[in-house]
Symmetry: D3
Subunit: 164 residues, 6 copies
């Protein structure tokens, strides 16, 4: 229904959150009434950071945005989105391989819940080729990741790799 | 500002409007407070239909959607969008070649007007490979275009090619 | 030699078989004298279903097609195809990433056995973004996969995940 | 119906026919009972060679293949294919941009005539990046096109550009 | 032969030269002993600027680079490169569609002259989606192109469109 | 600085080195004063060959090239390149998926060390679809890999799989 508040969900693994992710959160927050950054638990994929750590890092980044929050979820995205009464799923699109995977997910999600619309946003071109995997690869060998993540995330990365 | 009405513009040539375009209009209309289908005049490209004819066909299709309207515009999209005080540009994404062209336009448009966000929607997979050029190609040789366009557009196409 | 019966092989992992796979089998069966759906054993990849289970599910689906059969094979596809005296390898093409992998395989296979032609078929656009991995992902969280696989496969998926 | 002769059509502009096209014709002729190379008339696109010249060049190339012929056609491919009672449309796939255009055509053609199957073949990797446009570009400036076209086509190209 | 000076050619239409082109020229000039920016005459394509104007604009931009020059050429690139005794052709790669076209050209050029190596450089990500066509499109409607081209080129564009 | 010797690094896993890799090494050696083939240690990825074995196989292949050497390295490529005072990183580009990964790496590497330029070379079209993974897949089942790797590497592969 038009005129009502639209809630958007921005799902992802965020292991860890990058400046590219935050660029998408800001765009989404300017478009919709509220945005929930939804961190998937996926223990099977062996993320570097625990889901609680990933949520905490995003919490830190959201301080200036009053209509964006963060939480974690388990199970199917569309079940979670329905429980949350979200109208929109937000995804960032950077590259061709993203494009194919994202389309596949969006089509399956549409089959599972036809009322929720997937919306694609394009990050600033500075972040076109940025992802969490490459950030971890660089951080692991003590490379400089200051143009890819916030100072707080940078610190968490070096703590994590110092422990390792 | 959040809470306010968001106006979206869905620009294109629409020569003629297809079921794939209307699928995007409907999704956009469910997401934003109002949607303007904005038909580019581009006389240089020698469209099959006059801009007035293209606007009239879309008008016909919009009858069931109370928050969507149609009009034509000249000049740069971003100048038009600013005059219209739009917050969002809506574009459909179907294929890889779309993807590259659309990203290019979105990046240039962002440089021209940073406050207007380009949002990409994905049409129903039935329309993944549909575009106006192929519809005209089929209609020109009297092929059946009934699964690609509305009956009204189908009629306009056959009138146009009968005249030719 | 022309005029003779042409045998086609449609190889894959089929973990499990989807409606998209069956769409390709049907097209292939209309084109060639006989089609063998050839299930690769690949124990290294840890499939969800045993090779016998995958063969049995396809057997179930083939009931209406009198010139299509199913069997499993080990080792190199081209060695198997030569033993089987097949003239054609059939592959479905859905997306760009498929395209690159399939071309690579086809070129290598051509080097290994120049007489066997790889033929690409395009599934119905409904199945453009469907694959076995996404079906398992949805089934695992008890999502509805009824538009992606047959009722029989759906049942096998829920039995498998109930056991897990 | 299985066991019967399958007729395939290989449509195109062939302005002029290249070694890559002939590679596809040979593969198709090994798979199907007969292959018709079908040259589209398309006077709107201002081809370099008249449709009769394009047919004559292909005629020359087909001398060794006893189940392949050439002819021209007007209008919609699928209408022509139905008149010809063809079971198969053959297309060569080389690159990503081909891929998208070909899928679009195949999907539209399937809508127009559901019984005719489009089959994609991959040319030898030597011809991956070869097309008629680039051959003409090189021939126009008197470059060496001997690895791209037959000696006969090479001669026709130099006659054409000498006249120009 | 190693140790000798390597001359590189950077060919293109440059209608007009953009900041993305200059980014590639600078990278090439840091790698090779000398770089010639080679402007193709191609009168058939109806460029906005005369070849002399395009050369003059690049001349202006090259002032700080002491091992780079500009000139125009006619005919086949590889004939020109051989006359110039160049060892290297430099091309910028930005997007997928570039990629396919560039590979095609590089393979044909290799067939025509096997000793000259085509080298691809990647512009700064700021220029990923920039090209001359989009710059002209924006300039034509009096949009701001200051982040895409130099002040001098910007002036030439507005003179050109004022005259039109 | 121009005129000086330029050192290039060609990094990779080379598990094992293929004819496609050697094609790139030869092109790079004709362009730059010296080329170091740099084998990444990456024990995490469980390569088939030990890093010493991979270096030894490349050593064997380099016998005819007097300005190319091989060595292994640990850690970040850009740290290694700086220690080596290399001016250039060489990468082969074959396919779309390469393209995206390579661009990502090149952009990150540029952020880490702005003075080192990444240069992309295109292998002979014979090697467009060749990679080490497919070579191992074929060799594992005792298929013929003689057109993909040198006789020496072929022997090492069969020793490795005989032991397994």
């Amino acid at each position: 229904m038009k005129g009502e508040g639209k809630q958007a969900i921005y799902p992802g693994t965020f292991d860890p959150v990058t400046n590219g992710h935050m660029d998408i959160v800001q765009r989404a927050a300017s478009l919709f009434d509220s945005v929930v950054v939804a961190v998937t638990n996926n223990p099977g994929k062996q993320p570097l950071f625990l889901v609680e750590e990933r949520v905490a890092m995003i919490q830190e980044e959201l301080s200036g945005l009053d209509n964006a929050t963060v939480e974690s979820f388990d199970g199917l995205l569309m079940d979670y989105a329905e429980r949350r009464e979200a109208a929109v799923i937000v995804r960032g699109l950077r590259a061709i391989t993203d494009f194919e995977f994202e389309f596949q997910m969006a089509l399956v999600n549409r089959k599972l819940s036809n009322d929720i619309v997937t919306v694609f946003l394009m990050p600033n071109e500075k972040y076109t080729y940025l992802n969490s995997t490459i950030v971890k690869e660089v951080a692991k060998f003590d490379g400089d990741v200051s143009s890819f993540v916030s100072p707080y995330v940078q610190e968490q990365l070096s703590l994590k790799y110092r422990d390792a």
